[in-house]
Symmetry: C2
Subunit: 558 residues, 2 copies
């Protein structure tokens, strides 16, 4: 049996005008700002008018540690959203926007897959509604204003060696990681070494995704630390007087984007911060807006549950006053087999023993998620090669962990395939059984917060950090930043800091190599291992094969 590719299915989509999709949520045409006929932003004024409306149920979709087999977290998010709509629950999906740059490196993008996709896929993988370009512009305006301040006399007494604010581009460009600027003589300023990150790594991106409104956005932008003086006191973006103009550049980008699933159900696609040095979730404003318009909101978090769900709970929910009513943990038979030691080429063969021995990673995540007080359902994202016995092995294992696993066939069948999952998720969410609480209190010290996550989520024995790092954390606590949550930047492939350690390891050590203060976003980043904030292109970039064909369709992007 031959299956259609994602792009074939997406091109056959029977899209409805975006105004009709908005109408499903009660948004009038005057409150939608169209971008073409299939994309729109929800107007700020409409969002403001929703303040007193009650919230719907919030469902988080997360996953086991990613394997090369692919888990299908976004696909399941979309499929579950369609399934909930199918059983009569007014549901919106909330996911992140894609970064443009990486699509020109590896074969990229796509929002979901099979019959569980969000469209228009091509626009979403290119400029979409321009949000990331706005973030790039706002970020780089601040950069230019910092060097301009130094150029014109440096009255703030910025130590040129301690400018922490870099520049960004939404492009995989390793040549920009480490640069010297302001060469060429007096007219170009004072030479200094700096660099570029990719746009999604900008603190501005994290702020856009955590800000509750434009006022909050402006305040957070002003709070960002951009440099230090010789006496180590901080210079803020507010001191550079960039916060107002940056807010103006971001005012449209703050409005959530509305698109649709293949089944013409509403999907908000807004914001896309890194899931290592930032919190990796779509915007607070999209999630809260969706919750006021729908009975159910299905959203996802980046990477596996150890990183993405942990940050969703401890950063996004804590800061935005959100609480998930149910968590769906995505797993696949194939991923269990890989965790059980099967090579990728052999995943097509039935191997029940490998499935069983690979379930430990899944079990660890179930337990971790329950520790937040939330009910957990495992979604087995069905692959057509999965056998009955293998599926049953996963179900049996999950039962031993005090949870339940439900097979979901949305990839193949759309909402018809996800209906059983949707029914169970709806039942749990509506039962009110969730008793969500973040893992740690604001008052805990920064280092103790890191230890709490390492011990309770990663099941490590200890966190190690040298004196310089501990002193830095103390200094930030004294400066009033001690109440912030921490944001762990660690490999997504393992509970440890070693990407090759699959399963559910214990007894390991988490070394904190560096700490960073994102004072505007409102978290302290603990860097555990090498974190790349500006990717490079591969030897054969996908861009070489991307083009318009004679029908004006895009080739090679997916």
């Amino acid at each position: 049996m031959a299956y259609k590719t994602d792009i074939e299915i997406a091109r056959e989509a029977n899209k409805k005008p975006i105004m009709e999709i908005g109408a499903k949520l009660g948004i009038g045409p005057e409150d939608l700002v169209p971008y073409g006929h299939d994309k729109a932003k929800v107007s700020q004024s409409f969002i403001s008018s929703l303040a007193d409306k009650p919230k719907g149920k919030l469902v988080l979709v997360t996953a086991i540690n990613p394997t090369p087999a692919g888990e299908g977290k976004t696909t399941t998010t979309v499929g579950l959203g369609d399934g909930l709509n199918r059983i009569g629950k007014k549901t919106a999906v909330c996911i992140r926007e894609a970064s443009l740059g990486p699509n020109f490196g590896m074969k990229g993008g796509a929002a979901g897959g099979g019959y569980a996709q969000i469209v228009p896929m091509e626009d979403m993988n290119l400029h979409f509604t321009g949000d990331f370009h706005a973030i790039t512009a706002a970020h780089n305006l601040l950069s230019a204003m910092i060097d301009n301040h130094i150029y014109w006399g440096n009255s703030l007494e910025i130590d040129e060696r301690r400018v922490t604010w870099k520049r960004v581009l939404d492009m995989n460009d390793r040549a920009l990681r480490d640069v010297v600027t302001s060469l060429g003589g007096v007219a170009n300023g004072f030479p200094r070494q700096t660099g570029f990150d990719i746009t999604v790594a900008s603190e501005v991106m994290a702020i856009l995704c955590l800000a509750t409104d434009l006022k909050d956005l402006e305040k957070r932008l002003g709070d960002m630390i951009v440099a230090y003086r010789r006496d180590r006191t901080a210079i803020y973006a507010r001191d550079i007087k960039a916060d107002g103009a940056m807010t103006v550049l971001l005012k449209d980008a703050m409005q959530p984007n509305l698109v649709q699933t293949l089944e013409n159900n509403p999907a908000f696609v807004h914001g896309g911060p890194f899931a290592n040095i930032a919190h990796g979730c779509n915007s607070v404003i999209a999630t809260t807006t969706a919750l006021k318009l729908a009975d159910f909101v299905v959203t996802e978090a980046g990477f596996g549950a150890d990183l993405g769900a942990e940050k969703f709970m401890n950063i996004k929910c804590r800061k935005a006053g959100l609480a998930p009513d149910c968590v769906v943990l995505v797993a696949t038979v194939r991923a269990m087999k890989m965790n059980g030691g099967v090579a990728k080429a052999e995943l097509g063969q039935e191997n029940v023993d490998a499935v069983k021995s690979g379930c430990a990673n899944l079990g660890r995540h179930i337990g971790n998620l329950k520790s937040f007080g939330v009910p957990v359902v495992v979604a087995i994202n069905h692959f057509v090669t999965d056998t009955e016995a293998e599926i049953q092995a996963v179900k049996d294992y999950v039962k031993t962990q005090g949870s339940e696993a439900i097979l979901s066939r949305h990839w193949e069948l759309g909402s018809e395939g996800s209906e059983p999952l949707a029914r169970r998720v709806a039942e749990i969410a509506e039962s009110g059984v969730s008793q969500f609480a973040p893992l740690y209190k604001d008052e805990l010290s920064l280092f103790s917060k890191m230890e709490t996550i390492a011990k309770r989520i990663y099941h490590a024995d200890e966190v190690i950090a040298d004196k310089k790092i501990r002193d830095q954390l103390k200094a930030w606590e004294e400066a009033g930043y001690g109440h912030l949550p921490v944001c762990m930047a660690k490999t997504q492939y393992s509970f440890t800091t070693d990407p090759t350690q699959r399963g559910a390891p214990t007894g390991h050590t988490v070394p904190v190599r560096e700490v960073r203060l994102s004072a505007g976003a409102g978290f302290v980043v603990a860097v555990c291992g090498e974190i790349m904030t500006m990717p490079g292109l591969p030897s054969k970039p996908a861009a070489e094969n991307i083009c318009l064909n004679d029908d004006g369709q895009i080739e090679g992007l997916f």
Copy 2:
């Protein structure tokens, strides 16, 4: 009497839905791609369907050499467009898009002024429909692919010292003019010195504005020279395999943007190349599309007529098969007075003698324009401080030059004020009197083309260039580029290369300091004097005062 500011007038605009504006030109809602309710792109498929339609009349608005008094070229373009619509001629205006970066430097932007403006002014001065961001992304993708090619083995044998393709940002950032990239060790590539230009200086911008369709766009992008080998042979963007992906990034940007005047008449605002190292006109695709939809199209060219109109005629019209039916040369009484030696602070005082003695610059431009075989009308853009005697002095002078000057009061009165100008322009354009021809033939040598412009337009005695430059021109001629037009990069303030020489100087010398080949755009640039392709910010950037006020309106941008 108190006049409202431009921004006050713009905010009071009674905008119509963009679909209604499109309908005035016979564009159906399915052929408009909306960006909000007041901006839209005209779809590529609709444009393709117009191929066999006849063209309307083309009117070029140009100006004398700019003075600090301000001439109001765009204001007159918009006012004339409204005036023509008022007298029953179906008319569209075509102007350039504004660059975002400079708006954060000096108090910026605005499209026209008074009651002759295009709206939404704020969007047009910010991200608009994202065209410039798309150009930035396409340009920088090529940059990243060049360094990536070198990184992965450099099979094209690029001489790293001769990479001519830089990077761009739409930002005034002097620190990026001259940089060293790829520092930091093996993983980041081979360090080399390069720089950033502002996006409007990108050859991609010039190409977008000269390409006739997406196929032509892709071909021109591939034709761009990005580097040389040690043997001085050229490396093209096509060799880097970036042309297809760049075209994909630019496919939406190639569609012209439709907005409206304060009087709800259609205006295309599309493209914005530099007017020194490029040709400084809005896109060919916008102009040709407008000509097929309207009876009259009023467009403008950058800077004064010596630069902007010359390039409009010799580059844009030549390449796109266009021919102006009438040229409107904008002058003001104030500018005549400044040319006549009056300081800016004293422009409010009547001074007929100064007006008379300042008219030489105007006369020179009239003669120059006539040498293209086109009829010329002088528009005196009225200022409320102008006296009857001063206005009459300009009119009398223009009559001695075999042309006529018409007072136009569009700034104060909108189309009511520009009706006399519109009537005369319509009469001339419809008379078919224009016998347009470019100033030189394709076959002339590159250096002779420069001499032709210098002698016939600038009224210089000679062009000087050292042997290296003359050899370079010969080498390009041998390589097949001899048929290209030349693009003069010279100060806009004078007919000479010295910005302080006002009036109509003769006997001067034009030194060509450098020549550049824009092989994709299709012209050879002659750099005569210092040309800045990356501006800096002033000591008090406008950005410091730009913010959203409590009503959500933008303050400080205009």
